[in-house]
Amino acid sequence: MQEFLQTTVNGLQTGCLYALLALGYTMVYGVLKLLNFAHGDVYMVGAYIGYYVIRWFGGPTALTIPVPLLIVIMFALAASGCGLLGMAMERFAYRPLRDAPRIAPLITALGISFVLENSVLLLFGGFTKSYSTPSFISSTNGIHIGGVSIDSVEILIIVVSVAMMIGLRALVNRTTLGKSMRAVASDREAAEMLGINVNRTIALTFFIGSAMAGVAGVMSGLAFNEITNTIGFLAGLKAFTAAVVGGIGSIPGAMIGGIFIGLAESFSLSYISTEYSDLIVFGILIATMLIRPQGIFGRPPLQKV
């Protein structure tokens, strides 16, 4: 039982990060029908911003500000930095290709992924960067019940992720921007005719999705300490899998899909094989495509007759 619960905690933590990333994939797909494969690298940039914020405030062993304030600043700067990066990507790389065949922006997304990965390599070097989180947040702090440990960073990740997911759902369902996003996702031309500023809506969608990826990057650094310029690739693929499994284009689908993939990965690691967990996760992707291509929450496409 103890092992089961600890595995669930591990899976929830990873799943929340995948879910935050999957939301970015699904939002962009919703408004542009584009698979933004550079999204994982935006997450990586967020992790780097968090790292340099720690350095800026004295480093992990000599922080000049209280830890809660540090975390807030890390989240704020990573969210705004990554949000602006997402907007820039949309403005300069995807918008010119909006009416091009769908393969063009897809290849562009892969290109941006490599550009981001290698730019970080050139700017900050190939060394692994360490958040050294235990230097300022004890890894033994948190809840320890019956042999199950949930440390403070895990609690932070789960709470912040759930709060952001609820916030995003409220934004999409209850605000004017959310209505615009849904309208653009439903029919871009009709939305434009109704007076919705499509460019602004798409740019803000990129901002929000990328900001969430930035926050996920910071939380990843806090939880796992080590970051490199390559961490976005695999995380991005897993998040993409989560978005597809949940139903790409569906916000609840991305949330559930992310948590499902995190738990599936964790349970396969603990109970099946540490070697074949990736095989199992991507096997789920293939099975979903074969059995229910629209995903858990997706709707099958309507065919005009």
Binding site: E3, T128, P134, S149, T230, L269, S277, D278
Partner: protein
């Protein structure tokens, strides 16, 4: 203006003289004809183990600079980043073979040597690794131009297993490989020794290519589902020090206890510093050494910050090639792949003339003759303390 020029020239001359004198304690000067050629270094200069590769690069650059000055050679060092990935190493090797490089330092990983050894062999290029330790590399016959200045896993593996048996005395051991040739080779050597001593061995595997959240989930899950209270020692013969550090943090976070025992791949004083852990290696700690050569190396790499035990063997590997090239030139020949390879085979460097502290000479398969192993304990401050006579 003239005065400024005269001053600048004088300053440059004094600086040059100063540089020369500062290296008087480094490699002994020998009379030789000046000769120009190039060698290459293959290592992981970017990626998850860049700290290891960059350390190797810095030590190799220092060796080239010092022996160029000492032997009046003009050898240039070309860098080829393999990211510890065999497929990339093959591409880089093909480029090196097409270039004018006469010999190669590296590659770093055993799996890379497996991939590129036949290519170098066919091209007749001598390559000397300072860290590839899989025993079969020298004994398989597939790598005829391969040499290494470090002991193989048949030295390191038994040394580590015996230290665990005799000093840590566990009833059970968790041993985890990272699904790569290097790690699996060490596990294969250590497991039967531990079992023979009556220790129960729980063997697990994680995927070394995983990164970020996926890697962390894998390591955390191993702690959750595999590490039992009886397993008071966990052996982590991995190539990524940061993964070992993460594993140690996961153990503490889940309120479990085990002593981590890493091998050369986890040797990184800046990245793996879980107190109470052990790290074995194939290179000595020269930071407190008193010989002139060791001192010159320590001061030469000081600007790069802390380093582990990967640099020293790579310095020695580079030294082998530099001395081979110098000997070719002294014989009045122009360095070529064939004459440098022949000279490398005849290498004999006295303990006092290399930082490994042993005679560097090669067996027919390319293995070092009589190579010792080294062991370190990580104290409560995270500092590596050498364990002599283990």
């Amino acid at each position: 203006m003239k005065r400024i020029i005269v001053f600048a020239v004088t300053l440059a001359a004094l600086t040059a003289a100063g540089c020369g004198s500062s290296k008087s304690s480094s490699p002994k000067k020998s009379a030789s004809t000046s000769c120009s050629t190039s060698i290459a270094i293959e290592g992981p200069f970017t990626g998850p183990v860049a700290q290891l590769g960059l350390e190797q690069l810095h030590f190799a650059e220092l060796a080239v600079a010092q022996y160029n000055a000492a032997d009046k050679t003009n050898v240039t060092l070309n860098q080829d980043d393999t990211q510890l990935t065999p497929s990339i190493a093959v591409t880089k090797t093909q480029a090196i073979i097409a270039s004018s490089a006469v010999a190669v330092v590296g590659p770093a990983g055993s799996q890379e040597v497996e991939a590129v050894g036949p290519l170098f062999g066919k091209a007749g290029v001598a390559f000397v690794s300072g860290s590839a330790t899989l025993p079969a590399l020298a004994s398989s016959g597939k790598n005829p131009t391969f040499f290494r200045v470090v002991p193989d896993d048949d030295v390191q593996g038994p040394q580590d297993a015996n230290y665990v048996i005799n000093h840590l005395k566990p009833k059970a051991v968790l041993i985890i490989d990272d699904d790569e040739a290097y790690s699996q080779g060490l596990v294969k050597v250590m497991t039967p020794i531990l079992q023979k001593a009556g220790i129960k061995v729980n063997h697990q595997t994680y995927n070394e290519t995983d990164t970020g959240a996926t890697l962390a989930n894998a390591l955390s899950s191993i702690v959750t589902s595999q590490l039992t209270p009886a397993e008071t020692v966990t052996m982590v013969p991995w190539q990524t020090a940061t993964a070992a550090q993460q594993f140690g943090l996961d153990v503490a976070q889940q309120h479990k206890k085990t002593i981590l025992f890493g091998t050369d791949g986890t040797d990184s004083p800046t990245q793996f510093k879980i107190p109470g852990s052990y790290v074995s290696n194939f290179g000595p700690d020269i930071s407190t050494a008193t010989t002139a050569l060791d001192k010159s190396i320590v001061s030469g790499v000081a600007k790069y910050g802390p380093y582990g035990a990967f640099g020293v063997p790579t310095y020695a590997a580079t030294e082998v090639l530099m001395k081979a090239i110098a000997s070719v030139c002294q014989a009045g020949q122009t360095p070529s792949r064939s004459n440098v390879l022949a000279a490398v085979k005849k290498t004999s460097i006295a303990p006092a003339d290399n930082p490994m502290g042993v005679t560097i000479a090669f067996q027919p398969g390319g293995d070092l003759v009589g190579a010792p192993g080294y062991l370190f304990h990580i104290d409560s401050k995270g500092t590596y303390v050498s364990i002599p006579n283990h």
